[in-house]
Symmetry: C5
Subunit: 362 residues, 5 copies
């Protein structure tokens, strides 16, 4: 757990300007290597090329083609500034690209939409990776650290002309990117569901104390996913409303509704999982409590039986001298003293057992 949280929080930590920095400044840009792909297509044509710098993109945009600029990796400051100049992107939007760890959102900058969503890194489980999408009338720009892998199938679909994508415009492409992001959550949630079923089974099979930490960890993961899906849901429903919807053709609306539908499904599952994990934790605690009761019962039964017996044998271990008086432990000089004491002790045990059985302890 520990190796994951700090990353997420570290992400969040960077999500604000150092106190006093200029809003809209790009200083913090990381500068990890970043592949820039230019994909252009219409119904009958696909062109994909990789460029070294954003500047090479200038003049390549054509009206009759849908242009997808796919930045996979962490772009450096220069790159983003060039992109901003070329596509007229607002510095505040670019700042949000540089400082990941913000929440999902959609912002309408008039000529384009700026959409922020989150992937969960498949390798490191619950580490959110920001996906930035700019959707203009004839272009889509996507910037994502894990874009190489996340959009692999989408690129392939365009190249091979599968489905409707090549007949549609940039709005459909943006939908496809969002769809890829949302569908991404399902296998992760499924995995958490399996984990939960396993935790549940182990709980009722009498799990050890470690399960508490595992449930805590699962709940933390659900917290992250629940927040991300809820935000994605908000983003997608905002996408279909008001001024934002003007960028989407009516045929794409059905598809957007479908993704929105998926986010509903996700967030309801997260909600169910949360309730299941709470109920599982409570069941575990109750089970442990029950076990303690059993332990204490055993202690009580054994103590209650043997302590009186020990007392009785202690009595006859006293050294009173029978010679000093006839009332001084005459029992020890009786002929059947010893069997008599055993009789008394067996009677005590018997009575105790009956009492315990009546109380339902045995």
């Amino acid at each position: 757990m520990e190796h994951r949280r700090p990353v997420y929080w570290a992400g969040m930590k960077k999500g604000y300007d150092a106190h006093g920095t200029l809003p809209g400044s790009l200083e913090a840009a990381g500068g990890h290597p970043c592949r820039i792909r230019l994909i252009q297509y219409h119904q009958e044509l696909v062109r994909e090329q990789e460029v070294a710098t954003v500047d090479e993109l200038a003049g390549l945009q054509r009206e009759e083609l849908v242009t997808w600029i796919d930045l996979a990796g962490t772009p450096d400051q220069e790159c983003l500034e060039a992109l901003g100049r070329q596509f007229n992107l607002h510095p505040l939007a670019l700042e949000d690209v540089v400082n990941p760890g913000q929440h999902s959102k959609i912002e309408n900058y008039g000529k384009y939409l700026f959409i922020v969503l989150y992937l969960l890194d498949p390798l490191k489980a619950i580490r959110p990776v920001q996906v930035n999408i700019f959707l203009g009338a004839d272009f889509v720009i996507s910037i994502c650290e894990e874009g190489e892998q996340a959009f692999h199938l989408l690129r392939k679909r365009i190249k091979e002309g599968q489905g409707l994508i090549r007949q549609q415009g940039s709005d459909f492409l943006a939908y496809c990117v969002c769809d890829a992001v949302v569908d991404h959550y399902f296998p992760i949630l499924e995995q958490l569901g399996d984990q939960l079923t396993f935790l549940e089974k182990r709980t009722f099979a009498g799990a050890s104390q470690e399960i508490v930490e595992e449930i805590h960890s699962l709940k933390m993961d659900l917290l992250v996913i629940g927040r991300l899906t809820m935000e994605a849901q908000e983003v997608l429903s905002e996408m279909m409303q008001g001024e934002n919807s003007s960028l989407f053709g009516s045929s794409v609306a059905y598809y957007l509704r479908d993704v929105l539908d998926h986010t509903h499904q996700l967030s309801r599952s997260v909600d169910s999982y949360r309730q299941i994990s709470d109920s599982t934790l409570n069941s575990h605690l109750s089970l442990k409590n029950h076990q303690m009761n059993e332990v204490i019962k055993v202690l009580t039964i054994i103590t209650s039986i043997f302590i009186p017996l020990t007392f009785i044998v202690g009595v006859y271990g006293m050294n009173f001298q029978p010679e000093a008086g006839p009332l001084n432990m005459p029992e020890i000089t009786w002929q059947y003293g010893y069997p008599f004491v055993w009789g008394v002790m067996l009677l005590v045990v018997f009575v105790m057992l009956i009492i315990f059985r009546r109380k339902g302890w045995l």
Copy 2:
């Protein structure tokens, strides 16, 4: 419990596209055998026939008749595609038919409504089975794995002309299908209610630890039913609003309101049941705690009485030699030493009992 959950979750797991598959593709269609019934009627006429393939339906639709195409079972891909072609159904809707495990919903595709509801399989208790309903101006298509049994009475009612159904259009038929689905929940919820009453009784009669698992399991069932009824409620109230309502005649509106009313009743009962089961669980835990207190009290009383006695008899078991000095255990040479010790011990017991009674432990 275990045999149920995986089914539900498995259902849910399939409810998303494999990452990267084309939206609207029907690849996952199962292909279990599926009965296709064509039922056509107006006030004075009923025609029911079973067809082998969807293609045979072509040309059978007539304007003056209400057409119900009732697919009971899991239709294969071909069948769905044919249906899609013939009735102009949107691929996204058909995809939802193929991939069950989605949540209930209503979608307006202009010329028809697509409604998804859930039956709970009566045999396997809490296993949701998807019911897909397409409602057009003069046709209803219902697709349901358990349709054979679920709509048996409805088919009979049409054939025998009971009630209003034959005087009404396809909207009333769609209402009847929804009504059958919603009324389905009542006996199941009733059964859970009986279970709960039984759990409650056992709790206050001092149930064993297993009740915790049973309450957990009941809560999981309530979670599923609660979610389904809440969704059904949303679907039904959406049905009566905005553009959707145009497909329903004003006389059907009263009937829709009645079903909606039933869903309210259901979801309030689920809510009550949840609170009752929570309170029952808490009562159980408190009762167990109380029992532990009693056990510990018994332990304490017995220990507190016998440990001092054991100490006293231990004292007179010491081997100090009276001969070595007059202060060396003169008691054991007293004439009434032994009765004296018994007197002391009875006094100790008596004092202890008084103390415990004062503390309210006896």
Copy 3:
């Protein structure tokens, strides 16, 4: 508790159609004897007569009079059908009369309102009894199993011309019926409040375990009343809105607002009571926990004092032979051996007591 719940739930159980019955059928009608009263009045005139069957009512309705048809008891099927024919009542509404156990509601059927509210049977405490009210332009029909007693004072008020009722129309009469139902809850809630105060007092006086069951039972009662008052509140606020309000004159609106106000008061009190009962339960549990701590403390103190002493006296009960060597228990041959051991033991007790006092256990 047990004698009450099943009734309520049984009521609920009947609240749905047997799966597959025709919507709007009246088959389940009970057929208990039912008094039918016809009360007609205007400012200067009152006429009350009891009729044997609904058919006798035909032709008795007059425009210038307010007509109240008051059915006290469970009407049989015939009776309801006759009523339906005569007043043109919708079969769905009549079905709701036959199948009690539904939730409170208001339904506008154009020419009349159908209102369902619940009385709580004063004899069997928390058993809901359905009150059905049909409000038309110049008539009110009330159907209630307990109507004999519930509306006794209202009938008297009409006959004696108390208050405004004779100057007003059928809308005011309907208000009076609702007012009688809502005011009915107050003494019951008051009784629960007294019960709660008593539970609270007993809790802090150190109640026994039974209080948990009593609080559970009280919470179940609050659940029922809370649900009923919340529903009554919804019904009353709907009554004052939209198309429903057209049946109410503006002078009646003030009075409706007053009843609505009473339901607010009720539901806030229920809410407070719930919080108080939760807090009381928690306090009880904490108190019991505290008592267990005390018991365990006593156990620990007595054990901690006497176990070391018992060990010491055990030491001198060993049978090592002083003759075998000078190191073999020379103490038992000392002149002051016995007093010396007592000294050691008193020291141990003293030290223990000091330690326990420092820990704050004494």
Copy 4:
């Protein structure tokens, strides 16, 4: 606590009509002595006089003056009826004056507003006292059991012409009354805050069990205040909306907003206090649990050390006769038998201490 709750509840209990009484009847009016003050003013003039009966007020109202009729105490039925006649007040409003214990509210009766708020009696802490305010175009009527003290400063301010009040109309006067009521809550809440801080401190200093009752009592007080401030907030925000606002001049609106602001502040503080008291209670319980753990640890350590030792010394207290055979307790005839046993026992203690230290119990 006990001396307060009944009062509040008794108040609430009276807040409904005896079942079947006429709505709008004033029968329950108490009849405690009541001072009636007539205060009239405009910018340059103030007139205050006390009258014996409401009838004396007739004809004293003048258009150019603001008229405040201030009833301090519980008016009798006659008095209220006279007031109703003279100012044309609705019987339902007067009924609410007579039956205190209702919730706060605002009601628009066309020509005047009827406002109900609650003071908390400063002497008996959490006992709500109803304040009834009628606001007409040129008059304010206030009726309050504790009005003598509650509005003392307001009367003084009018007489001495402090602030804006003399330049403003009856709407500002009504605002001033509401402001006095709302500001009343602050010192009471402050006192609860102090109490809470004290409870918190004591909790972490290891408070005794009584703190549970005190926290329960505090939460009950917060429940009352929270309900009252929430209601006051609703009343004040309704005052500024819709038709009600027409009675308030635009310059008074700023002031109303300011009082509303105060109620926000109050209800947020109540909410914080509730969370703090919950967290404090949990901390207390956890602390007590921790203390029990410590006690049990001590018990276990002492028992675990001495029980084996007692066993060992018990062994050598057995009376096997060494003469009967060479294997019969030869140790007791050893020369160093006794020191040897002590050695064994010290070893046992040593091992036990090491084990406990490893487990972190010491």
Copy 5:
């Protein structure tokens, strides 16, 4: 913790008028030294000067310049009154400046907006410090006890002409002040996040009881921050709506949305932190419970093994005289009596160990 709460509450305590004081009076003004800076700028010009009294500001305001009057410290009454006169500020707003401890808010006084936000004092952690902002068409007045340090960087940015600020009007300046306040929360929340991660780690490493107090304290801090960020969020979203938005140019709207976005991020993080701290506390309690179980298990095992053994050796410590009869403890005269007893005892231990292993206690 203790050194912080009183400050916050004390702040809150002063947030109401002493009961009966005139609304809008400034009597409580503190009078600590206060630096008054006048900063005026447009695109090409900056002028900063410090003045001794507010009166010196008269006549310095110029239309073509943005005027920022920055009061750092606690202004005295005179100063505020002068300010009120000069800028026509409403007495109610000035009263709120004097009595800090109110909640955040925005109030539209027609010609200017009055905004109240809160800084958290960086030195004393969670002590809220009120920031008062008046925004007029061409001026901004900021009054803040900690303004010296809080707006240091903003003043520098103006002076050095960094970013857009010099090209924009007073609305942008007000935005910058709000932005500085909101960004202020991030490092504090980050610190709490670190604390929480540390608490979490310690919990699962088996923390001591003190952690309960630390979590309680953290939750109290989250309560304060959560309330402040929620209020800031409300203030900022109100700023962008309705009549308030008219004071903000359209280019500033993007920036306001960005700050609003930051508050969303903050409040979601606070919410997550709350859930994490609750889950952590529960995990801690469960862990402690587990440890107690372990302790009790050790107690039970040791007791259960040694108590029967002690009984056995006690039996043979009895002093029955073998001479008195052949049944009187013949064992002690057996040749192998002693080894036989050891055999029995080892058997008991062995059986006990097997039982405990079967129960899973070892």
